[in-house]
Amino acid sequence: MSEPTRSAPTPARLSSRSDRVFEVLILLLASIIVLVFLTSIYQLGKDSWPALQHFGLSFFTQRTWNPVAGTFGAASMIAGTLVTSLAALVISVPLAVASALFVAEYAPKWLANPVGYLIELLAAVPSVVYGLWALFVIAPILGRWQITFFNPEFPDRLALYTKCAGLWAENKTTLQCFFVPSSGAGRGLALAIIILTVMILPYTASVARDVIRLVPADQREAMYALGATKWEVISRAILPYARAGILGGVILALGRALGETLAVAMVIGDSQDVLRSIWGNASTMASVIANQFGDARETLHRSSVVTLGLTLFFLSVAVNYVARLIIARLTPRGIQ
């Protein structure tokens, strides 16, 4: 017990040297994360350079994507990506928040846990399995529903279809025609939106559940003490408090939706004439990469596909960054 600090200088110095070695080793391994990031940018940048050089910024505004003619513009895929993702987001947010409220506020404990499990398992289902299910189960249902639209008992519907088909052929549409079924295949924009909705639900739901659970109990109790109903407590005390966290979860889900590939590639129909009908075929940036990269022989085609990947890369980085920022900045202390 005598002179505890000065008695052992040698081991201290030894350990500081070995500590240094360990620190450098850990740092080197952790730096691989930086390396992966930089390598990704370099690789994608290098491979997309020919297309960017050839088309410049018009790559992002051009609508023609024609491998045979060697013209590549990504406007319709960018539109396809944004439309499918945002539509899926709009549908999924209320459902996700409701299920989060159910798990966190309504359900008894014996039910809340298994339901929470199930929602997390939903996030674990692989994209390709969602695609398979959508293709074999949902597409035929949508297809049958579309075919009943063309029921000969309603000649005015056929007339409407004929009118819309004429518009579509000229690359035009109207609001009414946008919702008129275009085929009986079931595949297309609508199915992609449905399957994306299901796929991003668990991300928003689990973030929302976590932030709702962390709303301080006295906040609820104070409202109840004032005689508030359950719904008043939720809408006035819980949701406003958890708002920022939920928004962060929504944006994280948006990031997922933007990059979701195979399920969408399997059901969206892979066509570049976009957005004339919600039932029509379309494509997203990710679906084009999946469907075309393997067959892209010419440098310009290949490079154009990689440029889609680069765009997706920066889009996801930006979206995720914003999501983290919102979660970090706006969430009250203690809920981060």
């Binding site: 350990s15 070995s18 620190e23 080793l25 850990i26 740092l27 391994l29 952790a30 730096s31 994360i33 992966v36 990031f37 390598t39 990704s40 690789q43 994608l44 491979d47 409701a98 299920s99 159910f102 798990v103 309504y106 499990y117 199930l118 997390e120 398992l121 939903l122 674990a124 289902v125 692989p126 994209s127 390709v128 399995v129 969602y130 398979l132 299910w133 293709l135 074999f136 189960v137 639900l201 668990p202 739901a205 359950k230 719904w231 939720i234 990031g255 933007l258 990059g259 590939t261 399997m266 990710a286 990469i289 999946a290 990269f293 997706l312 890369f313 996801s316 979206v319 995720n320 983290r324």
Partner: protein
């Protein structure tokens, strides 16, 4: 309002149950001995299984784990044990950013890194999957390492142990359960990825254990089969999906059990 909320929850959970029941009904019949011991029959013929895909998946996941676990756990240790290091914010941010990068983009990266020079290979597929594992392992291991009480570290240091020994022999074992959970979740996550394998591992109709050659994987065969016009391929795809989804569910549930007991 309560009724609406219950209804919405049912809508959220329904797809999971519907998918599982559908795959069970359609796929269980194909889960025979041949499914586990044979490779897919030539197009248009019946019989055959997914041995090539099962072995390919196992092999690529093992290789991916080397990258994912080594870099991921090291990253977690760095973020939790060296919080004042000046590179900490950068590595934390980039690991978050990597988590959001679409899997197919990682496939493009692995293509440029390996396939362009050496051709399609299991290595290229494993590299893409390993990159995808890193951020998941970093995040979970950082979180559990931070849960290890400071007092335990201080006790080790007070005994005269150097910091690296405290980290390796005391902190890491204390957090091992949580770290293993994170690794299992990361594996479950990338085991289902087909997109980055499309043009890296590429797929192989035969059993191939040589990682420098094209290799098949379960999600790849599911994709091929589901988009194929042949009934037999579709049947194999459904059985493959049932196998994959069961493995993923069991892994996820085990991981959660494992982490909750701690």
């Amino acid at each position: 309002m309560g009724g609406l909320i219950l209804l919405a929850t049912l809508v959220v959970v329904a797809p999971l149950i519907l998918i599982f029941l559908y795959l069970l009904r359609e796929g269980i019949g194909a889960m025979n001995v041949a499914f586990f011991t044979k490779v897919p029959a030539p197009e248009g013929e019946t019989g055959g299984g997914l041995l090539n895909a099962i072995l390919g998946s196992v092999e690529m996941l093992l290789m991916a784990s080397v990258i994912g676990v080594l870099v991921g756990v090291a990253g977690g240790i760095f973020l939790s044990e060296y919080p004042r290091h000046r590179l900490m914010p950068t590595i934390r941010m980039l690991s978050d950013v990597l988590a959001g990068i679409p899997a197919i983009v990682m496939g493009l990266v692995a293509y440029g890194l390996i396939v362009l020079k050496f051709g399609f290979s299991g290595f290229a597929g494993a590299l893409a999957l390993g990159f995808l594992m890193i951020p998941i392992v970093v995040r979970t291991s950082e979180e559990v390492l931070k849960l290890v009480p400071i007092s335990i570290r201080e006790a080790g240091l007070a005994l005269g142990l150097p910091k690296w020994l405290v980290t390796l022999r005391i902190v890491l074992p204390a957090a091992a359960g949580g770290i293993i959970t994170g690794i299992m979740l990361a594996l479950a996550r990338v085991a289902g990825e087909a997109a980055p394998l499309l043009f890296t591992a590429f797929g192989n109709p035969n059993v191939n254990l040589d990682p420098s050659k094209p290799m098949s994987a379960l999600p790849l065969e599911i994709y091929r089969g589901a988009t194929s016009a042949y009934d037999e391929n579709q049947r194999l795809a459904k059985a493959g999906a049932l196998l994959l989804i069961t493995l993923i569910f069991v892994t996820s549930l085990l991981a959660r059990r494992f982490s909750r007991r701690r």
